[in-house]
């Protein structure tokens, strides 16, 4: 378990990694990645019991699925920083012959990735399957998943939300990155999500909310979520974040969903994100 101060330092380095990775290849998705840096740092460095000497079957460990695969930069950085592979490999992101594909894949056998994602809406179903597998195997560890709020436009997610309750998957904690932005603009304009708290509760989930960019709140809420498992219901965390968090000119706008910073913008961004663990 790491202190909140240490976790914040790690998240800052993760944000540096994200910006540098996307800049180096001039493609990728910095906005959502930056917004979820605190959550994934807390998950991998504090919340989950997991083994970086990677085993696909995840026996006797917690497991995480990234459903909104386009935020692969934050996923790859956190996996590397927590020991799944050498941080130097982050330099290969999106380049030919890389294991760090544009969207996460198992095809190149990158340690830490257990399912391909990118085509949206599929990850919660997979997480439910993995949770059922754990129950059949008598494994008391937990399954975590992360989804974009825009991703909730996909119908399959609602099939999964309904079935998780019916199948009593109470070893699942699904987090929604509620940043209110998607490619074409604010979610309220593209496809209004309505009251997500009421919707998840109506489908039979235990619902809690947190500020995904406040490390104290993230750590405490994830601990609370764990304490709510095992009671017959799946657990949903509605995580308020700011897209682009940590780089002032990227914050709060869908404009930085899927574009890379230029050289000047990189310099401005890195000036706001001091190197804490050493760059790759």
């Amino acid at each position: 378990m790491e202190s909140v101060t240490k976790l914040k330092d790690i998240a800052t380095q993760v944000r540096r990694d994200i910006v540098r990775m996307v800049h180096a290849v001039q493609s990728g998705h910095p906005g959502g990645s930056l917004g979820c840096a605190d959550f994934l740092t807390a998950l991998y460095f504090n919340t989950m019991e997991h083994n970086p000497s990677f085993n696909m079957d995840a026996v006797n460990e917690d497991v995480f699925f990234l459903s909104n695969g386009h935020i692969s930069p934050v996923f790859y950085s956190v996996l590397a920083r927590s020991g799944y592979f050498d941080v130097k490999e982050l330099a290969t992101f999106r380049k030919l012959n890389t294991r760090l594909q544009g969207h996460p894949a198992t095809h190149e056998h990158l340690p830490g990735v257990r399912i391909a994602s990118g085509s949206l809406g599929q990850g919660m179903s997979v997480a439910i399957g993995a949770a059922l597998s754990k129950k059949l195997n008598g494994d008391n560890h937990l399954v975590f998943s992360l989804h974009g709020d825009g991703e909730l436009d996909e119908g399959q997610v609602w099939e999964a939300i309904m079935s998780a309750t019916h199948l009593k998957v109470d070893n699942l904690i699904s987090t929604i990155d509620w940043n209110g932005q998607q490619i074409d603009g604010p979610t309220s304009k593209v496809m209004n999500l309505g009251d997500l708290h009421i919707k998840f509760a109506a489908f039979g989930w235990v619902v809690i909310e947190m500020n995904g960019n406040d490390m104290d709140d993230v750590v405490a809420t994830l601990d609370k979520a764990k304490s709510l498992t095992g009671n017959g219901q799946p657990v949903c965390i509605l995580m308020k974040t700011e897209m682009g968090k940590g780089v002032d000119f990227m914050e709060g706008s869908h404009e930085w969903h899927g574009i890379a910073p230029n050289n000047d913008q990189l310099a401005k961004a890195l000036a706001q994100l001091p190197e804490t663990l050493g760059d790759y």
């Binding site: 399912i115 919660m124 179903s125 439910i128 993995a130 059949l136 079935s163």
Partner: protein
């Protein structure tokens, strides 16, 4: 000779799946069965009764079912998804592509009610494109067994076969003639049903029986027919196809599927690269089906024994 093949009885291939999944579940406690509100149609009753904790009812939500199956493999489960062929493939193509095939997951996609012989429900349910959809996915194995016994054997065999599999079978009662113990079925190995020198007939699924009927007619006309059951369309037993056509010099393919993208195109690809020869394709001709009795539909869409006979005679006439 094809006239020597004995019909044991008439049974639904989906019934063979039901018996096979029970046997697979009994033999291996990692076998898990999922369905999308079609447990009865897929003959899952005995499995559900004896292994209730390894049965997952997903409701009418096929996309979610495919994803749950992919997740179940993490931890070593061997999930079999069950629904009609149309909802097993066309409805969930991207889920299969990303979460199963690209992710390399050990999911068995088991599809009943394939093809025209679904009958009266009509074209919305009669998928004729599924073999093509599935064979195009890298890493996907595609199996189309010909009768009850072979469907049972294939259902059992795929539990021990690592990797994603598409298993296609059907609804109606159909002549059952392969070995009851399934010992004549090996994944990826073509099944020779007769030896001949004038024409090679390659068939899959229900059309194997139609090809037997056609072959008997050709034999009565004095022709020497080599009939081969290509139950595994991918990986294709290319050696068996090439060896046969090197001997006969021409071929007919028979499938309850669109000739675009099915068995016929797979066979033609192999032959064009290795031993070019006249090939005639029996199958549906880039069309949807319609309501009707199975036999009426097979007649209307040109999938009867007489159609195979005509195709064979045409192929033979084209030989140089």
């Amino acid at each position: 000779m094809l006239k020597d093949i004995q019909v044991l009885n008439e049974k639904e291939t989906r019934g063979g799946f039901g018996e096979g999944i029970y046997a697979a579940g009994k033999a291996n406690e990692n076998v898990v069965v999922l369905t999308a509100d079609l447990a009865g149609s897929l003959k899952l009753g005995p499995f559900i009764k004896d292994f209730p904790n390894r049965f997952v009812q997903c409701g009418i939500a096929e996309a979610n079912m495919i994803g749950i199956a992919a997740g179940l493999t993490i931890g070593g489960k061997i999930p079999y998804t069950t629904t009609f062929a149309n909802f097993s493939t066309g409805r969930v193509y991207d889920q299969i592509r990303q979460s199963v095939a690209y992710s390399g997951k050990n999911v068995k996609i088991c599809a009943s009610h394939a093809g025209l012989t679904l009958g009266e429900d009509g074209a919305t349910h009669q998928i004729l494109e599924d073999i093509g959809l599935m064979k195009m996915l890298p890493g996907m194995t595609v199996i189309v067994p010909c009768d009850f016994n072979q469907t049972k054997a294939a259902t059992i065999a795929i539990a021990d076969y690592n990797g994603p599999v598409y298993l296609r079978f059907g609804r109606p009662k159909w002549p059952n003639f392969t070995k009851e113990d399934g010992s004549d079925f090996v994944i990826g190995k073509a099944q020779q049903l007769s030896e001949g020198t004038d024409i090679s007939i390659f068939a899959c699924g229900h059309m194997v029986w139609k090809a037997i009927e056609a072959g008997r007619i050709l034999e009565e006309k004095g022709l020497s027919v080599e009939l081969i059951n290509i139950h595994t369309i991918k990986p294709l037993d290319e050696a068996a196809i090439i060896a046969s056509v090197k001997k006969t010099g021409c071929a007919v393919t028979c499938e309850e599927h669109n000739i675009l993208g099915g068995l016929g195109e797979s066979v033609s690809r192999v032959l064009s690269s290795n031993c070019p020869a006249p090939v005639e394709l029996v199958g549906t001709k880039d069309t949807f089906g319609e309501s009707g009795k199975p036999e009426e539909l097979l007649k209307k869409y040109g999938l009867e024994a007489v159609d195979i006979v005509s195709a064979a005679e045409k192929a033979i006439s084209r030989k140089k």
